[in-house]
Every structure is written in structure tokens, then in C-alpha cells.
Symmetry: C2
Subunit: 268 residues, 2 copies
């Protein structure tokens, strides 16, 4: 069944401030980002026009790791009609009365769609594990479910792109402090973020397990060093463009009798 790639992604070996695969500076990165986001716009249009493929982007990361920022900057040139963002928060009572994949399944992309999950079913082996919302016997079975679920999606025609935005604990401190400076940003500060920060090491362990157990051939994880926002945006854009170009999409060429349609239209 689900074959994992194994322990090839070790968080401890990946420096959140590093910029693997990119030698330039911020300015160069921003210029490149402009091109990539414009290309992403074209690719999204082809995706929609072709109506053959489905693309699911899964964003995971600690508080302040930049999930929202990634969506804003990577998709800034894409038609608002062409992107659907689904944020998964704490499950509601009706959601808790079903299996944890139920609410997720409802939002998977249709043909021609690009959907972004801002958090996802992975929370059910992250927050659920760290806070003992379910016992280990329950969450430990979920990695297999998730792999099987993602395999089914991929088999049925969905491209699944999973990004873990990897920030350092120091960088999180800096970003949380920033929210306390400007009064107009206070609404973004959730005192609960401090509580969660207290579980940093537990989360890292839980994330490492996610990477070890759900990094599959068909739905691999991309660990994105995310302390530098410009690198994070650049790298996510690159991987997205690469994946979409890999679909070798073409605009459909419906069989239209152009001369007849033109003359018909001229008469109307």
C-alpha cells in the first residue's frame, strides 16, 4: 500500500534560515518571484481551461510560520476566481461527530480547481497528539489512514503538494513580539499562541513523525526553511510552478466550425 520514502527529512538537519537551491539575495528573489507568480497565473488558467487535473496544496507550520503570508504572496497574481482557500480550525461539534477526514474530504478540489488547505487533516496527528485530545492508540493509526486517503486522491487525478513551513523558535519569538508593538496588529495576537509555544518541542516531535510517516512517493513533503519570508515565497512558488508544468497542460481545442459560427454571429 502506501510506501513512505522514509526518514529523509530531518528537521534538526534543516536550518530554518538557510536558502537551499538559491544563491541570490532578497532583491533577486523578489524579482524572480514576480516572474513565478505571473507564470502561476497562466498555469492556473490552463488548469481551469483543461478541466482534467485537480491540485491540492497543503500548508502546515507552527503559529507565525507564514501560512497566511505564503498564500498572499505566492498567489497574488492568480485570478481570485482560480484559487479556493480552506482554513481548518478547531473542529465544530457536528465535525467531531464524524471521522476526522470527513470535513476535509468535502473540500478537495474538483476538476480544474486549485485548492489550498490552510492547516489540514495533519492537525489530527499534531494538535490532537500534543494536547492528548485523543489517546495514542487513536492518533497513531491515523498516519496510515492519511496515506491511504492521499493515495486515493492522487490515484483519482489530484496532485497533492504538501509544504511544511519550518521556522525557528527564535524567529517565532520575534514575530510574536512584532504583533505586540503596533496597536492595529493587536487583534492578530492570540494569547493562546503563548500557550502553544510552550509545547514547541512536542510539536517538533509530532511534525518529525508526520514527515517520517507520511512522506510518500505520491504525496511527498516539502520542508521549506521559512525564517526568511522571501525565500519561503520563492521556494513555494518554484515548487508549485514545477509541479504544474509537470502536468504538461494544453488549452483544449474544441472542434468549432469557426467560419460558420462567425457568419452566424454576424447575422445576429
Amino acid at each position: 500500500m502506501a510506501k513512505t520514502i522514509g526518514a529523509t527529512l530531518n528537521l534538526q538537519d534543516i536550518d530554518p534560515r538557510s536558502t537551499p537551491g538559491f544563491n541570490g539575495d532578497k532583491e533577486k528573489a523578489l524579482a524572480l518571484l514576480e516572474k513565478l507568480t505571473a507564470r502561476l497565473d497562466e498555469l492556473q488558467e490552463q488548469l481551469y481551461a483543461e478541466h482534467q487535473h485537480r491540485v491540492l496544496v497543503i500548508l502546515q507550520g507552527m503559529d507565525t510560520s507564514g501560512k497566511d503570508g505564503t498564500i498572499r504572496h505566492v498567489f497574488k497574481n492568480v485570478d481570485p476566481l482560480g484559487v479556493r482557500v480552506v482554513a481548518f480550525k478547531a473542529p465544530t461539534p457536528p465535525e467531531l461527530e464524524r471521522d476526522y477526514l470527513w470535513r476535509v474530504h468535502q473540500h478537495v478540489p474538483a476538476n480544474g480547481e486549485l485548492v489550498i488547505f490552510n492547516r489540514s487533516h495533519y492537525e489530527d496527528v499534531l494538535v490532537a497528539r500534543v494536547h492528548n485530545l485523543v489517546p495514542p492508540a487513536i492518533w497513531s493509526r491515523r498516519y496510515d489512514h492519511i496515506n491511504a486517503f492521499e493515495k486515493m486522491l492522487v490515484d483519482e487525478g489530484t496532485t497533492v503538494l504538501k509544504f511544511f513551513l519550518h521556522i525557528s523558535k527564535e524567529e517565532q519569538k520575534k514575530r510574536l513580539l512584532e504583533r505586540l508593538v503596533e496597536a492595529d496588529k493587536h487583534w492578530k495576537f492570540d494569547p493562546q499562541d503563548l500557550v502553544e509555544r510552550g509545547y514547541w518541542e512536542d510539536y517538533m516531535e509530532a511534525y518529525q513523525d508526520v514527515l517520517d510517516k507520511t512522506h510518500t512517493q505520491y504525496a511527498p513533503w516539502h520542508v521549506i526553511p521559512a525564517d526568511r519570508k522571501w525565500y519561503r515565497n520563492l521556494q513555494v512558488s518554484r515548487l508549485l510552478v514545477e509541479a504544474l508544468e509537470g502536468l504538461r497542460m494544453k488549452y483544449p481545442r474544441p472542434k468549432l466550425n469557426i467560419p460558420r459560427l462567425k457568419s452566424e454571429l454576424e447575422k445576429m
Copy 2:
């Protein structure tokens, strides 16, 4: 109950090429649009931050009138996280087994949300009427339902903005012909559009009835002359910015013990 403003919007009196309220040229309009779309981005953030108001934008218009283009250009600077677009196409069998407002109601904006309806419940008194999908006794009752439904939404805290993108029959011909020129645009051409074009006058009559019967104080229609795309975008942006500014939103100022939070964070 629902009080309509009456026959103040006559389509025959509104020239689709006109640019009421704007004396400048295209260049000036585009410069102004840049500012308005940036302002819209700020206002959307406040809307989200405040989490008090709900905004529903309804876009209606004939094929090629520019509903998609309006979404693309007016919301180009708004965070993809902050806009949700819902396209209403021909109802599915389960949708047809309920009242026509059922599927619409499910997608209304929540607190802090900005939702765009690309077509809407108005199709149930437009295409449904023009093609006799339901008898006159049925569709003629719907204007009252729609007014009552929109009143409830407004009473409960939703701002409803209704735009009719008004193009001329000549302009539609031009736009349909354009789609037949470039092969990579052929997928956008739907031969059904020609069939619909044959019903132009019936649609104008149905739209005029919509304007006469559902142009209410609480949810007025805006007829946007839309033969010039730059004016259409400018005018929709203006009205949106005006409506959002009218909400007099402020960033919430949660009571945070900033010094304590800072020192707590410094220690973590």
C-alpha cells in the same frame, strides 16, 4: 415589508458606453483603479479583523458582460484569503429538489467575510423565466421571496451590493467574435452563447423587471455601463470602497497586558 425604490433604473435610458460620474480617460481610470484596489485590500483586512460585518457582492450580467473580468481586476490587490467567490451554474439534481434559495443561502458570508456571487438567485427569475423552466405563476412570486430574503440578510448584519453589468448587444457580438480568433481562447467559446444571444430582448425585459421589482432601499441595484471595461472596473471598485468605508470599521483593540505578555515571551 420589502419596499422597492420603483422604476428609477431604466435600461433603455442607460448607455452601456457611457461613463457617468467620471470625466477622465482610460489612463486616468487605471491610475485611480490602482489606488482603489489597494484601499479595498485595507478595508478587507479591517472587515476580517473586526469580524462584525458581512459583505455580499452579487454580480449579474449577460454572457461576456465581464463578471469574471470584474472579479479579477477589482479584487486583484485583495488577499486571496479574504475573498470567496461562489459561481452559480445550472442547478444540480439535489439542488432542484429544494427551493431555489436553498443552495444560495449556504454560501452567504459569515462575520468578517467578503463573498462574491458570480450569478445568483436572480437567475431564477432570468434564465428560468426566459426559457420557461418554470411557469409564470411560479417565477412571478419569486421577486417577493428575493426581497424578503435579502431584507433578512441585511437586517441580520450583511451588506448586500448588487451590480448589473450592462453591455450592449453590439459589444457582446464583438467579444464573442474575439473568442473565435485566437485558438487558445476557443475553450472559452460556448456555442450555447449564440443560442442565448438569440433571446437578448427577452433577457432585457427580464432584467428590467428585476430592476423594477428588487431595487430596494436596503439592497439597491447598481447598473454599471460595462462596454468600457476600465470604467466598469473603476465604478465597481468605487462603489465597493464607498460601501465598506460607510461601515466605519476599526481595528479591534483587545485588552492585552502588553508588558506582561512581552516579558513572558522573552522568557520562553
